[in-house]
Symmetry: C2
């Protein structure tokens, strides 16, 4: 399996994350990809290639122009305003307030954010754009006939909506790849999100559409970030009714229950019969992940990969979360090896 | 003029405020009231009395029960969850997400917050409850016939809605006092909010009601916290249509323009002919306030007090903001002396 990867991800190296009332070094950090890259090389999974450029059009096919312009300029404007820390959202349009984007950068951060843990810093935009191009390059490989490809994206994307960032995500790489498939001849695309966290951004982007199926396995929103989306009763709206499937699971869920949910998810995917499958691949379902509560072991990830392969679909893996850094390489590559070994 | 004051405000002494991407010692700090108390004594404005207790009923006449229960237990639950910093909201229901209160305390903070600058800490609830009782005691004095009374509240209240905290506010002292007036025989109450910031919580609480008039002078929401409420086109809804009047003003506004807006506000109050006036008294419109952008001078506050006195209404002053600590005593007491000297 070919991997698409760019060193540009290192341009994103925020120093602060708001966690438990403190500013800590972010869980989502550059070394995550070092461990994955190293493991890919170690097991010789396949070639590792640089991404091509796709310009802004496929980004703007998913995200609002004003949101993208905000992301591009936010750090410079924050610095120009004289603030001394990294750019963190501080006030937002809560219940019954107006959804009007303010003029001041401090207010704009709150308008476009869904969480305060994600700082915007020098290089964030460049890394996010490169990450989207990694996903698009992987999508092109699958379009060209590859049975699978691994888009080693960073920053991740599945929490980003058309006009919202947060959860370490700025551009929704999986959604951008799915839209690219649709805009280039594929009639139906399925996104299977196996990251521990609900892919709220991806769900939101396709919630009223029947041409992209969204299926997610994740920690129950009562207990897990992003808290305010991912309930089982969210099934789509309008033409999209029935094309969102959420499978939330409670704290402590192990692989036996998780794998049953995966079977349910893959059954729905098979019924949908998509032209391609995109897997939002997070490995924060791992038992010792510091910010999650599922109990998957390293060998479970190999089975996960094999189960996904059994769907028999052209498959693009897009990297999302995973924060037990030391094990992230093994767990991620186990999924890919499991897929290949099937 | 009598002042109502309780040392209990000191139970609220958060150590961290998220500001400019850093955690700093909060602008809203106990020493604010020390300076005001000292100045009150210095000029001999009148007696300083302790508040009476009013129990929970007048609080629950304004705030949701579940919200109050959350405030009461949040700090203990946050600590029990193992977090090490003060309790700060980190993820919230952004656009198109669901307004369902999560189970986990980390998610609940985001559900009930409108901003991340306001940490919840040991003693916060006790201080907030005492602050509300200070306002209620002042309201009782005015009900009993005093022409004016100063409720020296801390923490402030005007950003707190029935189920939202933030902007240093937890319980809406002015709204609780207004509701207390209404529930004890007064037909109409007017609230004049002269704090630099828009009193979004107060507006929200009475937005659909004609029995409480809300008039606010504040920094334009395009540029100033709380950013997502306070526009001139917000005039009330349903039976409350026409009973909200917002007078937002741009950065750099000085007293000449500000005083003209005050005249407009007082004209609306006179037309309404309320049984009593509540002044949400913030002095962060001061020229060197560190988080605001109006340009009032200390002597302007004296004129402000005289202008308000000219309305000839029984008046309850309720302390809100003001963050130029060294001058907060002079500026606050200037308003009260201006009122008395009229
Ligand atoms: Zn995740
Ligand atoms: Zn204020």
């Amino acid at each position: 399996m070919e991997t698409i990867y760019s060193e540009n991800h290192k341009l994103r190296d925020a120093q602060t994350e708001l966690y438990g009332g403190q500013l800590v070094y972010p869980f989502e950090r550059p070394s995550r990809l070092d461990y994955i890259h190293e493991r890919l090389t170690e097991v010789g999974l396949g070639p590792i290639s640089a991404p091509d450029s796709f310009g802004m059009a496929p980004i703007l096919a998913v995200h609002d122009f004003a949101y993208v312009a905000f992301l591009q300029s936010a750090w410079d404007r924050w610095q120009a305003a004289g603030f001394e820390g990294e750019a963190i959202a501080n006030a937002w349009p809560a219940r019954r307030m107006v959804q009007t984007c303010p003029t001041h950068i401090d207010g704009q951060l709150g308008y476009y954010a869904l969480a305060a843990e994600t700082s915007i810093t020098q290089g964030t935009w460049q890394a996010a754009l490169s990450s989207a191009h990694v996903a698009l390059t992987g999508a092109e490989r699958v379009r060209a006939g590859a049975q699978s490809c691994f888009a080693l994206c960073r920053p991740p994307g599945h929490h980003a909506a058309k006009d919202l960032y947060g959860g370490y995500c700025f551009l929704n790489n999986s959604a951008i790849a799915a839209q690219h498939f649709r805009d280039n001849g594929m009639a139906r695309v399925a996104i299977l999100d196996v990251d521990f966290h609900h892919g709220n951004g991806t769900q939101d982007i396709f919630y009223d559409r029947e041409d992209v199926l969204f299926v997610s396995l994740h920690g129950a929103p009562e207990y897990a970030f992003p808290y305010f989306l991912g309930y089982a009763n969210e099934t789509g709206t309008g033409a999209g009714e029935g094309f969102t499937l959420n499978l939330p699971m409670p704290p402590g869920t192990g692989f036996d229950i998780w794998r049953t949910a995966l079977a349910t998810a893959l059954e729905r995917v098979a019924e949908y019969a998509p032209d391609a499958l995109i897997v939002s691949l997070g490995v924060d379902s791992f038992e010792t992940d510091p910010i999650s509560f599922f109990k998957l072991t390293s060998s479970d990830f190999t089975i996960m990969g094999a189960d996904i392969a059994a769907a028999g679909l052209p498959t693009l893996f897009v990297m999302e979360g995973g924060y037990d850094i030391a094990e992230i390489g093994i767990n991620t590559v186990n999924v890919l090896e499991g897929f290949q070994g099937h």
